[in-house]
């Protein structure tokens, strides 16, 4: 195998591959990236056995072939090469080494046989559709903060992507929750997505997927089966197992009868929450919201470290209410709001609170209050 490739192109492909590779590996081959050169392109393939990413890049192939080398090392080398360099990678098969040449730099890396590299079994994808990158970006970006990290609730360690009924008909919906807050984001159902099995996309996959979605013009080919999900652009294919578990029935969690309505400028609100929370020394910083007619007082009272209070002008017309929240959760949901005011719907100080942007029900957040 021998090919030449531009440094920037190589770096992008290798960087994507190496981020999938687990840092601490007990199986040596899993630390490697599989490089396959053929025709006028090279494929870089990496896996952690749950996720597989394949990145195709144009290259001048002199001799077709394949080998595997340590992904992290290769990435480091390419990263340190000067911008604009032309890099030549070659392997003669006999020496068991991959040589990397760029200008006057010369590297030789140990390889492992390409036959040992585990390639993820293909799946029968029942559903195939195409979705614009900005749509998927919104679905996952706005929900991923609520993904649980608790291993005992492994079925919450991802975003539940499924088809659901909303007011305006069927939607493509992403839901994530850790039991303390929940995000439910809807998008118009892409053509061909109806009948898609609901899948829980793991946290790591969501992170990897994000790298495919930066280009506003890109169309992402999405394929879903009961056990796997596949996202592809013309250059990159990301295949991931989905979490084998049942996502809980979240619909009963979302309050429908909350009537006490607070409307507030989300950015102002977030800044105020952040300010008053500073004095709290606890790990879960509790902020108290005291609501009265068109007035919101945010306060923190930490006996050991201090107290803080801030008043905000808001739109609120219901009875007086005092309710506490984890400051971090309030900040997270408030930062999801980018166009209109944040609208909070409360019931009592012990019941889940709903938050959305204006009257837009395509993105709703639920947060559990905290005793203060």
């Amino acid at each position: 195998m021998k090919f030449s490739i531009e440094r920037a192109v190589l770096l992008k492909a290798v960087a994507q591959a190496q981020s999938v590779v687990e840092r601490r590996n007990t199986i040596p081959i899993l630390a490697n990236v599989l490089i396959e050169a053929e025709g006028d392109s090279v494929q870089f393939r990496a896996t952690d056995l749950d996720i597989e990413v394949v990145d195709r890049a144009p290259a001048k192939v002199e001799r077709a072939g394949a080998t595997t080398v340590a992904a992290v090392t290769l990435n480091e080398i390419v990263r340190k090469l000067p911008d604009g360099a032309l890099v030549t990678l070659a392997e003669d098969g006999a020496s068991g080494r991959l040589t990397i040449e760029a200008g006057r730099s010369n590297f030789s890396l140990a390889t492992l046989p390409k036959e040992d590299f585990p390639v993820m079994a293909s799946s029968d994808y029942q559903t195939n559709f195409s979705a614009p990158a900005p749509m998927l970006r919104r679905l996952f970006d706005k929900s991923k903060f609520a993904i649980s990290t608790e291993e005992t609730r492994y079925y919450l360690n991802g975003v539940y992507m499924h088809v659901s009924e909303a007011d305006g008909g069927k939607v493509l919906r992403c839901v994530a929750t850790d039991g303390h807050r929940l995000a439910r984001i809807d998008a118009d159902l892409p053509e061909g997505a109806d009948g898609m099995p609901g899948v829980i996309v793991p946290r790591k996959t969501v992170g990897e997927l994000r790298k495919l979605l930066d280009d506003d013009e890109a169309q992402i080919a999405v394929s879903v089966s009961e056990t796997k999900v596949r996202f592809a652009t013309p250059d990159i294919t990301l295949i991931s197992k989905v979490i084998d578990g049942t996502f809980p029935d979240y619909s009963r969690v979302i309050p429908t009868g909350n009537t006490r309505r607070l409307e507030v400028d989300a950015a102002e609100f977030a800044k105020a929450v952040d300010r008053v929370a500073t004095v709290s020394s606890e790990r879960s910083r509790a902020v108290k919201l005291s609501l009265d007619e068109d007035r919101l007082i945010l306060s923190v009272n930490a006996p050991d470290s201090g107290a803080a209070e801030e008043e905000l002008a808001v739109a609120y017309g219901d009875e007086r209410l005092e309710i506490g929240f984890n400051a971090k959760y309030l900040l997270e949901i408030a930062s999801q709001v980018d166009r209109e005011n944040a609208v909070f719907l409360f019931n009592s100080s012990g019941d889940p609170t709903l938050m959305r942007e204006g009257n837009d029900t395509s993105a709703v957040y639920v947060v559990m209050p905290m005793r203060v």
Binding site: T152, G179, H180, R181, R283, S284, G324, M368, V372
Partner: protein, 417 residues
């Protein structure tokens, strides 16, 4: 040489018997009135309390401990003569001393008596560091002027009062640091009063075995054995750096202890770092229902203790010992600290279900750690478990009922498993 009579508390300079009451129970030592660090250890505490409450037992060998599978927790001195020791399996103890009366421990009563003893110690000095219900360190530095008597006299008075007013006996070790005070209290049990002075420390330790150090268990002993260290004399031959290199932090400590040096202060209110309870089963079991019952009962005990102390834990630990004595522990970090039995139980139950091991087990333990103040605990509900809040309220209500009508006034069905 300064001396004190432990019966009538007379202090004197000459003689092997008390000049006042002719008692032979005399402690004499050149540094007797200078030393200030003491360790008090009650003699066969649980057994003594049992004898105190039931005079019929007074002249019988008494073993406090649990069931057929249990171990001896305390044996009175009559039983010890026959060779019965703490931590010995009960069947073995009964083989050695078949006439022994076995009593189940009554922890609440022991706590009660322990509090009385503690109150007496508190009168001597504010610096009391309890190690357990029946032993404590005391630092009496600077109290001589306050009491109008040196520490030795006050300590002799303490054990005399314990005997006269409560009815239990204890042994005193008096020295210049904690390590030696603890060693001393063990030298002349029961009803002992031993002194290790600064001048004689080196001589005293020389031929003593290393396992005398509190905290050197079988495992540490083994690694010391491999290094050829059995006595303090062996230790003295080692350079400090070599000891540290080989044994880490323990090496540094050993180097100092070998020279009779122990810088640890007597610290009252040593912070509690964890709360845990465990139980050894009558029969080994891998039955999930049985284990479930044990988890609940222990979770409840841990929770009771946490509630009593106003504390909550962020990490829940499940501990299981297999029949082969292999220990399995699993931990889970909670999203928010808890002191509720329900959450401790549910967390442990999930850990058990995820263990992937069928047992059988001989022991199960439940604990919480990373303790915080109770005000930070259980403040947030769970969206996906809407009943959790109601269970918490139910538990608080049950606690109130128990407080009013006694511990067994209300129990969960699962406690009967």
């Amino acid at each position: 040489m300064p001396a004190i009579c432990r019966d009538c508390l007379t202090t004197f300079e000459e003689g092997r018997r008390c000049p006042t009451c002719r008692s032979p129970r005399v402690t004499a030592h050149p540094e007797l009135f200078q030393l200030t660090i003491a360790h008090m250890d009650c003699d066969a505490f649980y057994a003594s309390v049992e004898k105190l409450d039931n005079p019929e037992l007074r002249d019988k060998p008494v073993i406090v401990g649990g069931g057929k599978r249990g171990v001896v927790s305390t044996a009175c001195y009559l039983a010890r003569i026959k060779g019965v020791r703490s931590a010995m399996p009960m069947f073995q103890a009964l083989k050695l001393c078949p006439e022994a009366v076995v009593v189940h421990g009554r922890m609440q009563r022991y706590v009660e008596v322990s509090r009385q003893v503690r109150a007496m110690m508190d009168e001597l000095t504010p610096v009391v560091e309890p190690l357990s219900l029946d032993e404590a360190f005391m630092d009496l530095t600077g109290t001589a002027r306050l009491h109008g008597a040196p520490p030795a006299v006050m300590l002799a008075r303490l054990v005399k009062r314990m005997r006269d007013e409560i009815g239990i006996t204890g042994s005193i070790g008096l020295s210049h640091n904690k390590f030696l005070a603890k060693v001393a209290s063990d030298l002349d049990k029961p009803r002992g009063f031993s002194v290790i002075g600064a001048a004689e420390t080196g001589e005293f330790l020389r031929d003593k075995p290393i396992r005398m150090i509190w905290g050197i268990g079988p495992a540490a002993q083994e690694s010391l054995d491999r290094a050829g260290i059995r006595t303090f004399n062996d230790l003295l031959r080692w350079e400090k750096d070599d000891l540290i290199h080989r044994f880490g932090g323990m090496g540094d400590r050993l180097w100092h202890l070998a020279r009779g040096q122990d810088r640890r202060r007597v610290s009252p209110n040593a912070p509690v770092k964890s709360i845990s309870k465990e139980t050894t089963f009558f029969e080994d079991t891998g039955n999930t229902d049985v284990l479930d019952g044990h988890i609940w009962r222990l979770a409840e005990q841990v929770s009771d203790r946490a509630k009593a102390k106003g504390m909550a834990g962020r990490v829940v630990t499940l501990k299981l010992k297999r029949a082969s004595h292999k220990l399995l522990t699993r931990q889970h970090q909670l999203h928010q600290p808890t002191q509720m039995a329900d959450r401790i139980y549910r967390t442990c139950r999930a850990l058990l279900d995820q263990l992937g091991d069928e047992g059988p087990y001989r022991l199960l333990g439940v604990g919480i750690s990373h303790l915080v103040d109770a005000s930070e605990a259980d403040r947030e509900g769970d969206l996906l478990d809407p009943d959790a809040g109601r269970r918490t309220e139910a538990e608080r209500a049950a606690d109130l009922i128990r407080k009013k009508f006694g511990k067994d006034a209300i129990i969960k069905g699962r406690a009967l498993r």
